[in-house]
Symmetry: C2
Subunit: 575 residues, 2 copies
C-alpha cells in the first residue's frame, strides 16, 4: 500500500470511528427516560368500594409514561409486595432487539421476587398509544396497569390536527381479588368470575353502595377516589383522545354525549379517518379519536362506557367532558346515553371492518403467506376443569420462560411435540354447543421459520352454552399484524382468503374475533424471540386461551441475567 | 508393638469398622416418612365465613405429621399459589445438622416460587408435640399450619399413663387476608389488624353470621366446615390431649367443662405434673395434658378457648368433648364456661411459674452464663410507622437469608454493625407510656460465640397507650432454652438473677413475657446456624419484634442449592 492510500485509509477509519462513537448526524437526540417505580399494595376505592389493589407508587392506574420516538425507557421496578412476585408487560412495544424485556412471566422472564428490583430497559421506536400492565397470573385485575404514550419528535407532525392530547384507560373492576378469581377458575366445580362490579374510566367508576349485601364499612359513595373523571375542554378546540382498554373481561362501547369522534389511530398506526358516535373497544386495543368541543358550552357532557357482547347488568361507566369554565364536578343536565344494544353484533363488525390504514401511511402486506395456522377457539371441559382451547389444546404456562428454555436448550422445560396448524376444522360445527370433552392441555409452542410470513385465522365458535359465542380480543406480543379480514360463520379458505384486504389493511397488535365469526391476520416472523399470542381477557388466557410463537431465537443475543432465577433457569442468574 | 497386640488391634478396628458401617446394635429402625404436599388456595369457611385460605392438599389445618423419634421427615412441597411464594417452618424441631431446613424465609432459605417443589428433609430427634406453619410475611394467618407429633419408639414408654392420644391446634381467625393486614401494619396512618373474628379449635370456629355488616353470601351458619370440632371419649378412659396454639395474636385460656387437666408436657419436655382447670397457652406453645373421662357419661361437655390479656370482644371458641355413645353433634346442656377474667394476670404468671421439668427428666442448666442480653421490648413510632423494638431497634427482615449471607460472606446483605446487649435499661421507665420516637430499624444479627451459654432477659414495658402492656410469646428457632424465671416489674440483675431456678427449670422453645414483667431464659449456643428469635404474634414480628442469632456458622456444612435463588444469593442455585 502506498503512503497516500495509507493516509487516506487512516483518515477514513478515523472518521468512521468518530461517527460510530459520537453518533452520525443525529437527526433527533434520543433521550433516556428513567422511572423509579415501587409496586405495592394500597387500599383503593376506585368505584367507591374499598379493595386491596396493587399499585405503582401508590397509584392505579400507575404513572403515565410519555416519551418520544427513539427514547430509551428505563423503569427500575421495586417489588414491595410482601409475598407476591410480579412482572410488567409493555403492551404494543415490539421490543426489537430486547425480547427479554417484554415482561411476560413464563415466556420472556422469571417473576420479580419481593424486595427485588428489576430494571426494564427498552427503546420506544414508534409513535403511538400503548399500555403497560402486569403479566403474571391475573394480577392485572388488581390494578397494576397504566398508559405509555410515544410522541413524534419535535418538528415532526401527525397527519391530522388537534390542539390538545389526552389519555384515558378504560377498565372493568372486580371487588374480589385476582387470587380469588384464579382459584375459582381453576377449581372443580368451576367458579366463574362473573360480571365486573363496575366500569372504570381512567381509574374511576361508581358502584352503587346501596346494592343489597354491600358491607357499609367498605363502600363510601362520596369517597374522593370515585368522583367521576373529568376532561376539561376549551370550547372550539380539538382534542386527541387516546383511549385504551385494559378490561379483564368486557368489550366496551365508548361514547361522548352529543359529540362525534373521528378515529385516527389504532394500536400505534394511523387510520384512514372515519367518524363514529360510539367507539367499540376491546381489551388490549388503543385508539386515538379527535373530538371537537363544538357543542353548547354552557354545560358538561357525559362520557359513557357500556358493556357490549355480554348481557351484563354492570352499570355503564361514566365520566364528564367538562366545558371550561363550567365546574368539572357539575353533572350534565341530561340522562347519560344508553349505548347500543349489547347483542347487536352488526355495528361492531362494521366498525372493525372500517378500520383501514391511512392513505400515505400504508404498510403493504406481503401478498402471500408461507404458512397458515387456523386456530379454532373453543370452550372445553378438560379433566373436569372448564378451559379454553385452540385446536383442542388448552395452553398451560410453564414456569421456565420459553425464551430462556430455547436459548439454553432446556428441552424438558416444556412439551416439545409440535402443535397442529389446524385441527378437525372442516367437520367442526361452530354453531353447535361444544360438547367435546377430549381437549388436552399443553405448553408446547409454535415454532415459526424466521422471516417468513404467517397467516393466522382465528375462528370463533359456540361455547358450552346454547346460542352463545363470545368476543375474544387476541393480542400478539412483539409484532403488529395486518388485519386481513373479518367474517361471519366458518372461515372458508377458498372463498374467504380471496376477500382478504391486501391493499390497505390496518396493522394492530390486538384484534377482536367476533361471536360466531373469524378474523384473519398476517404477520412477519421477523422479530427474534418468543412471543405470547393470546386472548386478552384475563380469565380466558388464564383458562388456556393462548399460544406461544418462537421465531429466530438463535439470533437472540445473550440473555440478561436479570430475567433468570426460576424453573429450570433457577441457577442461571449471574450477579 | 508385638504381634499379639497388633492382631488384637486389627480385630478391634475391624469390629469398630463393622459397627460404624452396619450400625451398632440398632435399637430402633429409623424410618423415612414421605409427604407430598401441595400448597394451594381454597375457599374455606372455618368459622362459617367464607375466606380464601392457603391450604395444604386442600386442608387447613394441614395434614398432621406423626412420626417416631429418629425418623427422617421428607416433605415434597409444591407451591401451587399463582403468584405467591411460600416457606414452612417446623416449629420446635431444632434442625441439628440441617439448619437450612428451618423454613424461615430471610433467615434460612429463599422463598419457594410458584410451580416450584422444595424438599424439606430433617430428622425428628426427640419425642414431643410440635407444630409447623408458614414463615413468610404473615402467611400463617391465611391458614397454612398444622401439627407434628413425634412418638417414642416401640417398647419405650412415657413417664405417665394414658389410653389415647389426641391433638388439637388452637388458632384465631381473621376475615381479611394477611396481605390486607400486612398492608395496614406497614402504612401511615397505621391500620391495626384488630381483634380476630373468631377462635378456632382444630380449624373450626363460629362467627355470628347475624353480625351487622356481614354479607349474607359469605356467611353460612350451617356450613359443615364450621360444625364444632368434637373429640369422642370413652367413659373411664384417660386421654393425652396435645394442645398447640398458633394464634396470630391471642393469648388463650383453654378449659374443658367439668374436667381437670394434668399438664405433663410442654414444647417437647416432660413437666412435673400439675393439675389445672384452665390451661393458659400462648402462640407457639404446645402442651400435653391428661384428661380422664370421669364425669357423667350421659352428656357431652364444652371445650372452650377464651382470649385473655386483651380486652377482646371475640366470642370464645367452642368444641365438644363427646362422651361415647352420645351423638358428637349434641350440644352440652350447659352454658359453656365463661373462662377467667381477661385482665387477671396473677393466675397466668402463677401457671407459667408452675411449669418445671419432671423429676427424672431434668436437664440441668449450666450454672453460669457467658453472656447476658437484656432485651427491652417497646412499642415505638419509627419515621411515622408504628413498630415494635428490642433495645430501641426494630427488626427488618432482609431478603438474602442470613444463613447464606454468613456462609458466603455476603457482608452487604445486611447491617454488620453489632447490636447492643442492653440499652438504656437502668433509666428506662417500663411503667410509663412509651414516647420515644427515636427507635431505628436494622437487620443486624446477634453473633454468639459457639458453645457458650447465653442468658436473655426479655423485659416487657408499657406500650404507647396508657396503663397498657401486652403478653409476648417469644419463640426461639433451633434450640430449647431453660426458663429461669419470671418476674413482675423491671428486672433487677442483682436481686432477680439470684432467684433463677437452676434446679429444675423447664426447657421450652416458646415462652410468655407477661405484661409489665420480665422472663429470663438461658440457652447453649451449640447449634451451628442462624436462628430467628421473635415474638410469635404474627403482627408483632412483622412490625419488628424479633432478632436473629448466629452461632458457629463456620461449622455449617455446604448449604443445599435448593435454598438459594433470592437477594444476593439469586445466582447461587446450582441444579
Amino acid at each position: 500500500m502506498d503512503e497516500f492510500l495509507k493516509k487516506r485509509l487512516i483518515t477514513f477509519l478515523t472518521i468512521l470511528c468518530l461517527i460510530a462513537c459520537c453518533g452520525s448526524v443525529p437527526k433527533v437526540e434520543a433521550r433516556v427516560r428513567r422511572y423509579k417505580w415501587e409496586v405495592k399494595y394500597e387500599m383503593k376505592s376506585p368505584d367507591c368500594y374499598k379493595k386491596l389493589a396493587i399499585t405503582i407508587n401508590g397509584r392505579s392506574p400507575g404513572p403515565s409514561i410519555v416519551a418520544r420516538v427513539g427514547d430509551t425507557i428505563i423503569v427500575e421496578l421495586k417489588n414491595s409486595l410482601f409475598t407476591e412476585n410480579v412482572a410488567i408487560h409493555w403492551h404494543g412495544i415490539r421490543q426489537i432487539g430486547t425480547p427479554w424485556m417484554d415482561g411476560t412471566e413464563g415466556v420472556t422472564q422469571c417473576p420479580i421476587l419481593p424486595a427485588d428490583t428489576f430494571v426494564y430497559k427498552f427503546v420506544v421506536d414508534r409513535p403511538g398509544t400503548y399500555l403497560y400492565h402486569a403479566h403474571y397470573g391475573m394480577q392485572r385485575e388488581d390494578g397494576l396497569y397504566g398508559s405509555l404514550r410515544v410522541l413524534l419528535n419535535e418538528g415532526e407532525s401527525e397527519p391530522f390536527q388537534y390542539d390538545y392530547d389526552r389519555s384515558i384507560i378504560l377498565n372493568d373492576w372486580y371487588h374480589n381479588s385476582s387470587k380469588q378469581q384464579s382459584f375459582g377458575l381453576s377449581s372443580i366445580p368451576f367458579v366463574w368470575v362473573g360480571e365486573p362490579q363496575s366500569i372504570l374510566i381512567q381509574g374511576r367508576g361508581k358502584f352503587d353502595c346501596s346494592t343489597p349485601g354491600t358491607p357499609t364499612a367498605l363502600c363510601n359513595a362520596s369517597h374522593p377516589e370515585c368522583a367521576p373523571y373529568a376532561i376539561t375542554v376549551v370550547p372550539g378546540k380539538t382534542y386527541r383522545l387516546r383511549i385504551g382498554s385494559l378490561t379483564a373481561l368486557s368489550a366496551l362501547s365508548f361514547e361522548i354525549e352529543g359529540h362525534n369522534m373521528t378515529v385516527v389511530e389504532a394500536d400505534g398506526h394511523y387510520v384512514e379517518p372515519f367518524t363514529v358516535k360510539n367507539l367499540f373497544i376491546y381489551s388490549g386495543e388503543t385508539y386515538s379519536v379527535l373530538v371537537t368541543a363544538d357543542q353548547d358550552p354552557s354545560r358538561n357532557y357525559w362520557m359513557s362506557a357500556k358493556i357490549v357482547s355480554r348481557n351484563s347488568n354492570t352499570t355503564n361507566g361514566l365520566a364528564i367532558l367538562n366545558y371550561y369554565p363550567n365546574h368539572p364536578r357539575r353533572d350534565p343536565p341530561t340522562t347519560p346515553p344508553a349505548g347500543p344494544h349489547w347483542d347487536d353484533r352488526r355495528p361492531r363488525l362494521a366498525q372493525s371492518g372500517a378500520i383501514r390504514a391511512r392513505r400515505g401511511f400504508i404498510h403493504p402486506p406481503p401478498q402471500i403467506s408461507d404458512r397458515t395456522i387456523v386456530m379454532l377457539n373453543t370452550q372445553n371441559n378438560v379433566g373436569g376443569y372448564r378451559r379454553w382451547s385452540i385446536n383442542n389444546v388448552s395452553f398451560n404456562m410453564p414456569h421456565t420462560p420459553y425464551l430462556i428454555a430455547y436459548k439454553h436448550n432446556l428441552l424438558d422445560a416444556f412439551d416439545q411435540r409440535p402443535l397442529s396448524d389446524g385441527h378437525d376444522f372442516t367437520t367442526y360445527n361452530i354453531s353447535a354447543v361444544q360438547t367435546n370433552p377430549n381437549a388436552t392441555t399443553s405448553n408446547a409452542a409454535y415454532r415459526l421459520k424466521f422471516n417468513t410470513t404467517v397467516d393466522v385465522i382465528l375462528q370463533n365458535a359456540n361455547t358450552m352454552n346454547p346460542d352463545n359465542s363470545e368476543t375474544h380480543p387476541w393480542h400478539l406480543h412483539g409484532h403488529d399484524f395486518w388485519v386481513l379480514g373479518y367474517g361471519v360463520g366458518k372461515f372458508d379458505a377458498t372463498k374467504d382468503a380471496g376477500s382478504f384486504n391486501l391493499v390497505d389493511p390496518i396493522m394492530k397488535n390486538t384484534v377482536a374475533v367476533h361471536p360466531f365469526g373469524w378474523t384473519a391476520l398476517r404477520f412477519r416472523a421477523d422479530n427474534p424471540g418468543v412471543w405470547a399470542f393470546h386472548c386478552h381477557i384475563e380469565s380466558h388466557f388464564f383458562m388456556g386461551m393462548g399460544v406461544v410463537f418462537e421465531e429466530g431465537v438463535e439470533r437472540v443475543g445473550e440473555l440478561p441475567s436479570s430475567i433468570m432465577g426460576c424453573g429450570h433457569a433457577k441457577g442461571f442468574y449471574k450477579p
